[in-house]
């Protein structure tokens, strides 16, 4: 079966990203397909490579990046939500006249249409949030 995942909250503050990660990993290990993971609202904050969580804690950004690499996951950060919250890739940084970017490996910035498309293409959309 083909799943799509929507994550509405950033890492650490709410459990949403943790639960979504465990669900996604379990689905992949069962042989299901993940069409896309879409990060919306504060969820875009999962995609910054600037985080440095305590050494004895999980690093959610790295967990997502590694899962993406292993399974060729499509991790999409919503551009409108990212602009409000300060998540940039090199292109966006240039376009907005910012002096740096912070997107993490395996994440890409794109539009809300990618969420709608995920809803259309996937058999099930699962939303994790506050």
């Amino acid at each position: 079966m083909r799943f799509a995942i929507q994550i509405n909250e950033g890492p650490y503050t709410h459990q949403a990203s943790d639960t979504a990660y465990q669900f996604t990993k379990a689905a992949l290990e069962k042989g299901h397909e993940i069409f896309r993971v879409f990060f919306y609202h504060d969820g875009v904050n999962n995609g910054t490579r600037y985080t440095v969580p305590p050494q004895d804690d999980r690093n959610l950004q790295k967990l997502w990046s590694e899962l993406a690499e292993k399974y060729k996951l499509d991790l999409v950060v919503c551009i409108a939500a990212a602009q409000r919250r300060g998540i940039l890739d090199a292109n966006e940084a240039k376009r907005q006249g910012k002096d740096g970017d912070n997107i993490a490996p395996g994440f890409r910035i794109s539009g809300l249409g990618q969420l709608i498309e995920a809803g259309i293409q996937a058999d099930r959309l699962i939303v994790f949030g506050d």
Binding site: Q15, A26, K30, L125, I126, F128
Partner: protein, 102 residues
């Protein structure tokens, strides 16, 4: 075909579980996750509402979330089935849609 409803909020703090129970149809499944599992503990004031809902819906709670919050096996309300993340995936795959009560 049936719906899988997820509830991730404490029923003691917010109205999400109540709203979910108000909109679940007979044959639907309800999965308590994150702080939502707090409602699954025996003896709480929300227990009668969950027990009543069991007559028409199947109710599940996510085991790792129960454990994190110190709710051990014998303390879970009778008839609520504990599942792991793989079980969550199966429930989502088995329903026709998933409705999150955020």
């Amino acid at each position: 075909m049936s719906t899988l409803h997820t509830v991730n909020k404490s029923a003691y703090e917010r109205n999400a579980l109540k709203s979910c129970l108000d909109h679940a149809l007979p044959g639907d499944a309800i999965l308590l996750i994150e702080d939502g599992v707090l409602a699954a503990r025996k003896g709480g004031s929300i227990a009668p509402a969950l027990t009543a809902a069991k007559a028409s819906c199947k109710i599940y709670a996510l085991g790792p979330d129960l454990a994190a919050r110190g709710i051990v096996a014998g303390q879970v309300l009778e008839g609520i089935e504990t599942v792991d993340y793989a079980g969550f995936v199966d429930l989502a795959a088995g329903a026709s849609r998933v409705c999150a009560w955020l």
